[in-house]
Amino acid sequence: MEIKKTASAGTLESSDIMVTLEKGAKGIEIDLTSTVEKQYGKQIRKVITETLESLGADGVKVVANDRGALDCTIKARVCAAFYRAAESTDYKWGE
């Protein structure tokens, strides 16, 4: 799948993360703001990157505003944002 437009998922509520994806240069570029940057910054970047890679994304700019979301939440928000950005509803529920 390919990014066709800028799209986002999530909220700025505590324990959530707001993820916005747009077309970018090659690879995955992450601009992260997090209330738990010092403790979990590396882990959050890792989860975002792994989630996008598993979806086959490339050339993506990610703007993420995290309010202490758990890994499962981050994964779900990145996934939703990516499907919206790719204008796809071909969800792979089993994966």
């Binding site: 505590s14 324990s15 209330t35 738990v36 010092k38 403790q39 979990y40 910054g41 590396k42 882990q43 309010r67 202490g68 979301a69 758990l70 890994d71």
Partner: protein
């Protein structure tokens, strides 16, 4: 030698020493030496302005000034006094407050412009705390517990040159109190426990009040014999910040579960007998414990001899129902507690020294059976941090945490297992405030862990059917949900020294590293 009444006597008597001759003066060598009778309507402590009182006090650059924190986030005194000292050109002062909070952010400017050189306090919050954590001060802030500070003031280790103490009532002779029975009560804060050692041991004590009441202002936390000057000002603080209405019971189900479990631990600890004593700290779960304790006291038909510490409306309710015989009150947390200390004869004010002093002579905390305290972090050795946040930035106060933990027969820490994504249990807390050897039980919403050193408690609680986990098991449960946090990175610069009760360094706070 002959005195002015013509009596002759020797200048010196062996075994006694040199003798002085009666001279008919009231205070020889002072402005008050005329005559023996007190001047009519004696008001010489009343000074027309703060500037004048400061001049009379003899304050000099580099000296130590002190304040109390009974007006909490409504306090106007610290900022007013330091602004005035800045205008008068003072430099390099040591500010020793019983605590500082959000409303004291204007001190940042006075640190930068050299008026304040060093700070001693129980805690820091808000912008001032942020700045200090980021290296604002050349000399580290000294953090002391309430008991440790009181003892240091009493022994002279923390010598106070001039104490500036706000009081919601004071008479013309200096009898000052946190409440009064003579008039306006809207600025009342209740107990003035943390101001009492300052008034007693400072070289000079200046009372700042908005409310002069007729002599004698009784009861008085600060008696006139400890007061040198009185200044009247329009406002000592914002009543809304000084004391708010009754502390509402939490409706947060997680806090209620923690409180309920803590009460069950207390009930089965072996200390829940007629005549027991307890203290609770602040925080939703800690405050709610009192409510659950009430049910258990009624069911068992027992009463507490006393409750100690920061007094809350919840404790007052039990006192007025006859379930707690006496309240020993160093500080009041809400208007119900303030009303009670004004009205109830067995609701007694105690000084910070009497409350929690760590000396060999002992203090009220040493009589405690049980204390329930909060924690920002606790580690697998049961060390507790209530001073710095999970990001390493100062955001709290030591308070009486290490004092009560050390004194009580059983110290219970109540805390949620996770806050947002942040786990409460760490391998090592960011700042040790209370050593694990004084902490006995951790109660979370996911379970209870007992310090392995307390085999007696483990036996009793297990026998009562309370399922116990190890603190490492609780830590693993949290990490399964949120993952393991990376440790906070610090720079080398020390921004804070944490003194244990006896003024020995228990930990240091370093400047946080910002990327």
């Amino acid at each position: 030698m002959k005195n002015i009444l013509g009596v002759e006597f020797p200048d010196h008597i062996d075994g006694i020493g040199d003798l002085k001759a009666f001279d008919g003066k009231r205070h020889t060598g002072t402005p008050f030496e005329e005559g023996l009778k007190a001047p009519q309507g004696r008001t010489n402590k009343m000074v027309e302005s703060l500037e004048k009182a400061i001049e009379l006090s003899g304050l000099k650059d580099g000296m130590t000034i002190s304040f109390h924190h009974h007006f909490r986030n409504g306090d106007y005194i610290v900022n007013l006094v330091v602004d005035t000292l800045a205008k008068m050109g003072y430099k390099d002062l040591v500010l020793a407050a019983s605590s500082l909070t959000d409303c004291h952010a204007p001190l940042i400017e006075h640190i930068k412009n050299g008026v304040i050189k060093r700070i001693e306090t129980s805690g820091l919050r808000g912008e001032l705390a942020n700045e200090v954590s980021n290296g604002l001060m050349d000399i580290p802030v000294i953090f002391r517990s309430h008991g440790g500070r009181a003892r240091a003031v009493a022994t002279g280790e923390l010598h106070i040159d001039v104490a500036f103490l706000g009081a919601p009532s004071c008479d013309c002779a200096g009898n000052a109190n946190g409440f009064n029975r003579d008039g306006d009560t809207s600025y009342d804060c209740g107990s003035l426990g943390y101001a009492m050692p300052d008034a007693q041991f400072a070289d000079k004590t200046i009372i700042l009040t908005n409310h002069i009441v007729p002599y004698p202002n009784t009861p008085a936390a600060i008696p006139e014999v400890h007061v040198d000057y009185i200044v009247t000002i329009d406002e000592i603080g914002n009543p809304k910040g000084i004391a708010s209405g009754a502390t509402r019971f939490t409706t947060n189900p997680r806090e209620l579960k923690i409180a309920q479990t803590a009460a069950k631990v207390m009930e089965n600890s072996g200390y829940f007998e007629d005549g027991f004593s307890f203290q609770t700290g602040t925080g939703g779960a800690s405050l709610a414990v009192t409510r659950f304790l009430e049910e258990k006291m009624v069911a068992k038909g027992i009463k507490a001899n006393f409750a100690l510490g920061g007094i809350t409306g919840a404790m007052v309710k039990l006192h007025e129902k006859g379930l707690i015989k006496k309240l020993l009150d160093v500080q009041d947390f809400d208007l119900d507690a303030v009303r009670s200390v004004r009205e109830n004869p067995f609701h007694c004010v105690v000084s910070g020294h009497h409350y929690a002093g760590p000396g060999t002579e002992g203090s009220a905390v040493d009589q405690l059976d049980m204390v329930v305290l909060s924690a920002l972090e606790i580690d697998t050795d049961f060390n507790v941090n209530v001073l710095t946040g999970s990001d390493g930035v100062i955001r709290g106060a030591i308070g009486g945490h290490p004092d009560t933990a050390s004194g009580a027969k059983m110290t219970i820490i109540v805390a949620p297992l996770i806050r947002g994504r942040i786990p409460t249990i760490l391998d090592r807390v960011n700042t040790i405030v209370t050593p694990g050897s004084t902490v006995d039980v951790l109660v979370t919403e996911y379970g209870v862990a007992v310090n392995p050193a307390r085999t007696d408690l483990i036996e009793r609680l297990t026998a009562a059917g309370i399922e116990l986990k190890t603190i490492k098991e609780l830590q693993a449960m949290a990490e399964a949900i949120v993952g393991k946090p990376d440790p906070i990175e610090y720079e080398d610069k020390i921004v804070g020294l944490v003194y244990y009760r006896d003024s020995k360094v228990i930990d240091v706070i370093r400047k946080v590293k910002n990327n």
